[in-house]
Every structure is written in C-alpha cells, then in structure tokens.
C-alpha cells in the first residue's frame, strides 16, 4: 500500500477520479491538471499503472478497440478513492495553513 505519494502519482489518481480513462487519456489528464508542468512519458505511465494496480489502488475495468487501437481503461478502486481523498485533504490542509501564514507577509490576503 502507498504510504507517501509523489506529485505524478497524485495527478494520475486525480485524473482517474473523474472516471475511467485509457493510457493516453491519463497522460493528457495529468498534463491538463498540472497546466503542462508534469508530462508523463509512456514508459513511466505503464510503470505507474503496474505499480498502482499491484497496490490495489486502481484496476483495469475493460477494453475496447477504437480506430484499430486497443484502449484499456483504468479506474480507482475503493481503496484508491480513499487514498486520494486522504491525500487531497492533507494537501488542502497544508495549503490552507500556508495561505493563512502568507496573509501576514504579502499580497495573498
């Protein structure tokens, strides 16, 4: 089970929170969420998908052929949903503290 999460993993899970996605759609989702800051390469994506599937955080929910290309879809498991929820809350909590503190120092009021 994942105990600590890196940014790309968080972005992949956040992309899948919207519903099932296939490989390239996940890459696009991550790029969109991070406003182009995080670009996941195909090899890295499959390493992550394998690891997250192994950890029971995501699962493959089927496949279809579109324009002669095999698309396999992935979605969050209930465990993955809980994990993403907890991680999101943790990030929000830290961000809120940071914003509260910034109110006293600059233009973030």
């Amino acid at each position: 089970m994942i105990k600590e999460m890196r940014e790309p993993t968080f972005l992949v899970l956040a992309t899948l929170a919207e519903g099932k996605r296939h490989g390239y759609a996940i890459i696009q989702g991550v790029a969109a969420l991070s406003e182009g800051e995080v670009v996941i390469r195909a090899g890295t994506l499959y390493a992550m998908l394998d690891r997250l599937t192994f950890d029971g955080v995501i699962e493959s929910v089927g496949e279809e052929i579109v324009d002669g290309r095999l698309r396999r879809y992935y979605e969050l498991t209930s465990e993955g949903t809980t994990l993403l929820g907890e991680e999101s809350k943790r990030r929000v909590k830290v961000s809120n503290i940071a914003l509260r503190r910034l109110r006293f120092v600059g233009d973030f009021a």
Binding site: I2, E4, M5, R6, T9, H22, G23, Y24, I27, Q28, V39, R41, A42, G43, T44, L45, Y46, A47, D50, R51, F54, E59, S60, V61, G62, E63, E64, R69, L70, R71, R72, Y73
Partner: protein, 319 residues
Amino acid sequence: MTHNLDRSRNLLRFYPKAYREERGEEIVATLQDAAEARVPRASLSDQISVALYGVRVRLGLTSETMFGKSLDIAAIPGLVMGAFFGMYLLISGDLPVVNSKFFYPDFGPFLTVGPLFYLVWILGVVVVFEWPQSRRRVAGVCMTLTIVGELLAKLVHRNPNIWEIAILVSLGLPSLLAPDVYVSRRRVLPSACVGLATFATLFFVSGSSVNPGFFNSFYWSGTYEIARRQPYVDVVLLALFALLWITKRREAAGATLILASPWIIVGVAYPVSLKYLSVDALNVVALIAWAAGMTLIVTTSRYRPRPPASIELSALNTG
C-alpha cells in the same frame, strides 16, 4: 504512420513475451496517440521510456517484484557502505602512506588518486541524505567518476587497486538499478544505519590483534586478507540471509545477498586471478550459495501474467 507503428511494435521486443501478449497492443496504441499529438522529439522520449521500462520488466527490476524491492532496500545502505569503505581505505591505506619510508607519493601526498574517489562517494551520501530521491543519479555520478578516474589514473598516475575499485563501484549498483519509487527522508537514516551496521559487522567479524580486520589496506597485505578472511564473512552473511528468509523477510534477505555480492565474488575471483594463491573451499561454497540465492530472487521476480479470473471480472463488456 506505418513506419511509426512498426517502430512502436519493435519496442515491445524489450518486454518479456507474457507482458507483450498482455499489454503490448495497449502500449502501442498509447505510443501512437502520443506520436500523433506531440512533436517528434517528445515522441522519441516516449519510445525511450517504453524501451527502458521493457528492460526493467524483463529483468524483474520493477517495484512490484522481490528483486526490485530488495534493490530498493539495498540502495542507500549500499551507498553508505561505499562511503565508509572509502573512509576506511583513506584512513588505513592512504594516510599511512603519507609518512611511509617505503612508498613514494604519486598524487600529492598520496600514493594514488584513490582519496579523490572516496571523497566523491562521501559527498554522494551527503547529497542522498538531503535529497534521497536523487539516489539513482548520485550512484550514477559516483560510479562513472570512479570508473573514468581509475582509467585515467592508469594512464597518468598510479591507479588505485582494481579490486578495491570494483567493490566500490558495485556498491552503487543497487541504487542505479532500484525501481523509481518514492524515497522519503525518514527512510534515509535507518538505511544509513543498516549500511553502517553491515560494514561494521564485516569489519569486526574478522578482526584480530594481528590484523585489524577484513578491510585491511589493499596496498599491503590487505588484498590477501579479503580472500583469507572471506569465509568468516560468508558464514555471517549466509546465516543472516537464511534467518531473514525463514522469518519471511524475503526482500530484506534479498538485499543482504545483493550487498554481499562484491565480497563473495571477490573472495573467489581474487585468488583465482593469482596463480600463487589457493581458493578457500568455503568461499566457493558461499559463491555457489550466493548464485543459487540470486537465481531464486531473479526467477521469483520474472513477470507473470495476471490470472485470467481477474481479467474476466474487470472486462468492460461484462458491465
């Protein structure tokens, strides 16, 4: 387009057959999508990443396998052992040379450029303490500088003992090969302690009043000691491996075996390279046991297709 498709399919050759059959078409589709959407350079990066991951899957070096997990455990302790090894060689081998009547310095006050290499490894560990996620890059830099330095030293200066350098370089291999997983800073200190404890055990297990330990300087009689004293070390390492394996700490057992590799190999390879030195039978037994253990880890880590039941359950067309 066909050329692109062929190239994408060729990349699948890096993957084991079982993986290729299960995921190959999916990866090709993703590569095709990426190639259409991106500039050629980005598409090349995708292809390289797919090929590299294929090699990892083939060698069982992913984060899900025992080999990958063992390498992950062994990574930072290996670097720490390398730094302490360097420190020890500096104190016991290079510093005494400074005041020796029998040796003349060839690199500043030192006999060889070895102290520079040791410094690189010590600095490398300092960097990993601060940025544990950079362990692979740090290992790559330490290993490259040591190998290149050794080759250059051979041309210009007196080069450090090749066995010593081989051991040093191989201690970086676990970090270089370990899967790219999240390494938090809280993991570094325990890992460093494991590295130091392993090093200290190796040192003290063979210590005596006559000779101060296993890692006696390579510049004098120390090189012989590694072969002569290795049997004691073998017994400790293999006992530790067996204990960890039996108590179901298999990844830690694998890490022990990985970290023991340089000593066990050198224990046999060094005397074999010299005609006048005989190989200790226990060293050979340990090498065979080590090879069997590593084969077990590698075999266990081979990619296996997912059971068909889980695929059936997850099929989209079943609803």
